[in-house]
């Protein structure tokens, strides 16, 4: 079993050839921290005939834990997204069985156009700051309702984005 250390000492030497004319290796690494990182301790034991004047040694560190945690985190995120995507694509239409409506509105007009519509548009974006008035008034309803409403809003936004990009080709070409 290999050990995956966090520190190594890497020495790069000039290439030479041994007696049989074969090229010797030029890079030597050593992962035991206890020894000093110089040619005498790293290269000499392996290749006593190499001249240390042509070697350059350097300590290098990495963080294996970070890599492990991040990669596992990424796998989880991608899997979750994948499962949720499958749910949305396959099961959701079966459950809901009704066409999702969305209102088409033009983007630039929005931030200067009639008040209520703008309010509405702001509330449908996932980036909206805090709950919108409508959401506030929905406090009486159950939590489930709120979640499903949020989800519907989000779906509306996504559908509109999809419309902009995939159908009307008005953005991001």
């Amino acid at each position: 079993a290999a050990s995956f250390e966090d520190t190594r000492c890497k020495c790069v030497c000039d290439k030479t050839w041994d007696a049989s004319g074969k090229e010797t290796r030029a890079v030597f690494t050593n992962t035991t921290r206890s020894e000093q990182c110089d040619c005498e301790h790293v290269v000499k034991p392996l290749a006593p005939f190499l001249s240390c004047s042509r070697c350059l040694c350097r300590t290098e560190t990495r963080n294996t834990t970070t890599i492990k945690v991040v990669v596992i985190f990424i796998i989880c995120v991608v899997s979750l997204l994948f499962v949720y995507m499958l749910f949305l694509l396959c099961l959701d239409p079966l459950i809901q069985r009704r066409p999702t409506s969305y209102q088409q509105h033009t983007n630039e007009e929005e931030d200067m156009s009639s008040g209520p519509r703008t309010e509405d548009a702001a509330a449908t974006t996932p980036t909206g700051a805090g709950p919108s008035p409508q959401a506030m008034s929905a406090r009486q309803r159950s939590l489930l309702n709120m979640v499903s409403k949020e989800q519907k809003k989000w779906k509306g936004t996504v559908q509109e984005q999809r419309k902009n990009i995939y159908d009307r080709h008005s953005m991001l070409n």
Partner: protein, 717 residues
């Protein structure tokens, strides 16, 4: 009165100071958070992308979370024959090796198959995720961010889902081996972070103009983490992305960029090796006559940029208007399949593009056993790797492969940039430039090595066998030239390049190439790729770099035109609620000028459609006595009329300080005012009377008309 005013000011002074300090503080905290978030995202994406990329080839069985390099990190060195025998990295298992057991041909075919399948899987996943969760996450994002920073609002473009999907999609797209980079999308990701965090601070979340300051800083952080180049990031934000760059945000942007780079460096995903992306370890001098190839490289870069932009835009236009646009996921799969199929056989296309660039810009050292470094060196000389030598056969075969890789990359990138997954352009164009540069560098090197006694090259050689030409430098210059040709960046490009490579002494070569590239590119066509995409999409973006040199005046541009119906105006004290409502129904303007009377047309102010709508609806609901024929008053004092219906006072929604110009103002000045003051519209007067209105769209249409373009292509018109 005035004196009292000042005294009041002074008393407020202390409180103002506290508020001001808090305000400034919140800005700093916000950019700090943005920097930390951008750095963290970049770290995660870096680790994920390299891991997934290597997954196409094999897996580190004992610790599956390592990529190939990390897997073999602590064992015997990667690319050297051992002292005794050829010890390969034992921990890494390629798919062919695992399945076929040992046979070479079978292993190759199985490896090929897995390579293509993984690529297709990644590409498909990326395209599906983008389509299902956040369509705005596709593309590079820089054209849109430029447009947003110029004052346009795209709702949801910088949202949480976009951030998540763009990050994941970027990893998948890069891992699929497509000819795209993750550097452009980093800017988008950082801007998403900026937008999300700005909602924590009311000062920034509620004010679009203030939020843009944060976004400027965030885009600096994006480039900073993409290349590990904080100063380059700030300059990129200043030169390329930001529209208004007030100097007070310069410092904050730098702080943000630096924090992001620092966080990324602390995460230190792959150990010390990768602190500077394409770090070079040489500082050999360059010679004056080398400027000729450098300038040639610049010209080639400019040409490449021009043709790349032209064909890419052609293809995007075709996609936009033809049936191809209806099959985005199929298109991604097709491009992925072709890319994977063609790139596996050639080692220079099979490897990660940024690794390829790194290989090309570096000098051959003693530890390099690759084809490109097969020189007939005199190993008894001191500093043998400093001097040029005669190339061996392997170099010639490497040149052939590089040429093939060059053609492949050039063609495939045109089709790749614009497909509906997150995709940046920096790395592919740099790769193209670096290949051309390295090839030219090797050619020049061999020319000199074979003629060391020539008069032209005498100062480049200390002795006949001691000539110094560094092909890696040519690759670096070529990369800068190609990137400059495509994006038309200048100062920021040079700074990014030398932060990227650490080659502070090569600033003149880089500069000469970047300059030639820009000049050649501009001579062939003024637009960079981002501007071309902005124009293709018709975003309302008023370019702040182009000079407006025509002699038209405001009267030529303003609405209403000669035969148009008169301007829809509101009088300050005679219109009834009903009339106003019908005006609101019948027009679609965003706002209305308020005048003294319809006859005199003396301008009083400007009122926004939204405010007017809200105020009337509100008054109808709550105020007692406001009925359809109540008169709306925008004046300070309202005449008391006990018999008529209750008046509606709307002075508080009136903007008393609209920006006005006279009809004789040259459009040059008007354009400058729109750019510098960030106006959306301005009112045109003559001797104090209102004549018309000029909106940003009118200006854009006018400019398009003067450039003989279709003025109706401006978006959302």
């Amino acid at each position: 009165m005035r004196h009292r005013h000042i005294v009041k000011k002074r008393m407020e002074g202390c409180w103002e100071q506290v508020k001001g300090a808090h305000d400034a503080w919140s800005g700093w905290v916000c950019v700090l958070l943005v920097g930390v978030a951008a750095g963290t995202c970049a770290g995660i994406i870096d680790i994920g992308a390299t891991w997934m990329s290597d997954l196409k080839e094999g897996v580190c069985l004992e610790a599956f979370w390592f990529n190939k390099e990390q897997c073999c990190w602590s064992g015997p060195s990667l690319n050297a024959t051992s002292l005794d025998s050829a010890i390969k990295c034992k921990q890494w298992y390629s798919w062919g090796q695992m399945i076929s057991g040992g046979s070479d041909a079978g292993s190759y075919i199985i490896g090929y198959l897995f390579f293509v399948l993984w690529a297709l899987l990644f590409g498909m996943l990326a395209a599906m995720l983008v389509r299902v969760f956040a369509p705005y996450a596709c593309g590079s994002g820089i054209p849109e961010i430029k447009t947003i920073l110029s004052g346009f609002i795209i709702r949801g473009y910088l949202g949480k889902w976009t951030l998540l999907i763009k990050s994941v999609g970027m990893m998948l797209a890069v891992s699929a081996g497509l000819s795209l980079g993750k550097e452009g999308p980093f800017v988008h990701v950082a801007c998403c972070c900026g937008n999300i965090f700005s909602y924590l601070f009311p000062k920034y979340g509620r004010n679009e103009a203030k939020k843009r300051e944060i976004l400027s800083a965030a885009s600096a952080a994006g480039v900073s983490v993409a290349f590990g180049a904080p100063i380059g990031g700030v300059l990129f934000s200043l030169e390329e992305v930001s529209y208004y760059f007030p100097l007070k945000t310069l410092w904050r942007s730098f702080f943000c960029a630096l924090i992001a780079a620092f966080i990324l460096r602390s995460i230190n995903p792959f150990g010390n090796d990768h602190l500077v992306m394409f770090s070079i370890d040489y500082d050999e001098p360059w010679h004056l006559q080398e400027l000729i190839p450098f300038i040639l490289l610049g010209a080639l870069g400019g040409l490449f940029g021009k043709f790349f932009i032209k064909f890419n835009i052609m293809w995007c236009r075709y996609r936009k208007f033809s049936r191809l646009g209806n099959y985005p996921i199929f298109e991604v799969l097709a491009v992925t399949f072709i890319t994977a199929l063609l790139s596996y056989p050639n080692p220079y296309t099979r490897m990660n593009t940024s690794e390829l660039i790194k290989l090309l810009v570096s000098r051959c050292g003693p530890e390099d056993d690759v084809e490109l470094c097969d020189y007939g060196r005199n190993l008894n000389m001191t500093d043998t790797f400093k001097y040029s030598a005669v190339a061996g056969n392997d170099v010639h075969s490497a040149l052939w492969k590089l040429a093939l890789a060059l053609i492949f990359k050039m063609v495939i990138t045109i089709f790749t940039f614009g497909i509906k997954i997150p995709a940046g352009l920096f790395i592919p164009s740099m790769a193209v430039g670096a290949i051309v540069g390295r090839m030219m560098g090797i050619g020049f090197e061999q020319l000199i090595v074979s003629n060391p006694d020539s008069v032209f090259f005498s100062n480049m050689c200390e002795a006949p066998d001691k000539c110094i030409i560094t092909p890696g430098l040519y690759a670096m210059v070529g990369a800068a030239a190609a990137l400059g040709g495509v994006t038309r960046m200048t100062v920021s490009l040079v700074v990014i390049m030398f932060e990227l490579t650490g080659g502070l002494e090569y600033i003149v070569p880089m500069m000469a190439a970047a300059m030639t590239s820009k000049w050649v590119g501009d001579a062939l066509g003024r637009e960079g790729i981002y501007d071309a995409h902005i124009a293709l999409n018709g975003y309302p973006y008023l370019d702040s770099k182009e000079e407006f040199t025509h002699t038209t005046i405001a009267a030529d541009v303003m609405r209403p035109r000669r035969n148009d119906p008169p301007l829809a105006v509101i009088t300050q004290d005679s219109l009834t609620v009903e009339e106003t409502e019908s005006l609101l129904r019948n027009t679609e303007h965003n706002g209305f000028p308020v005048v003294v009377s319809r006859e005199s047309q003396y301008l009083v102010g400007f009122v926004l459609r939204r405010d007017l709508n809200l105020a009337i609806a509100n008054a109808r609901k709550t105020s007692d006595g406001v009925v359809s024929n109540s008169v709306i008053y925008f004046t300070g004092h309202v005449p008391v009329n006990p018999h008529g219906p209750a008046p509606l006072k709307l002075r508080k929604i009136l903007d008393m300080a609209p920006v006005t110009i006279t009809d004789q103002t040259p459009m040059e000045t008007v354009v400058e005012m729109f750019r510098k003051l960030g106006l959306r519209q301005t009112l045109v007067t003559h001797n104090g009377r209102l004549l018309g209105i000029i909106t940003k769209k009118d200006v854009l249409r006018h400019i398009a008309q003067l450039q003989n373009q279709d003025p109706e292509s401006i978006l959302f018109n």
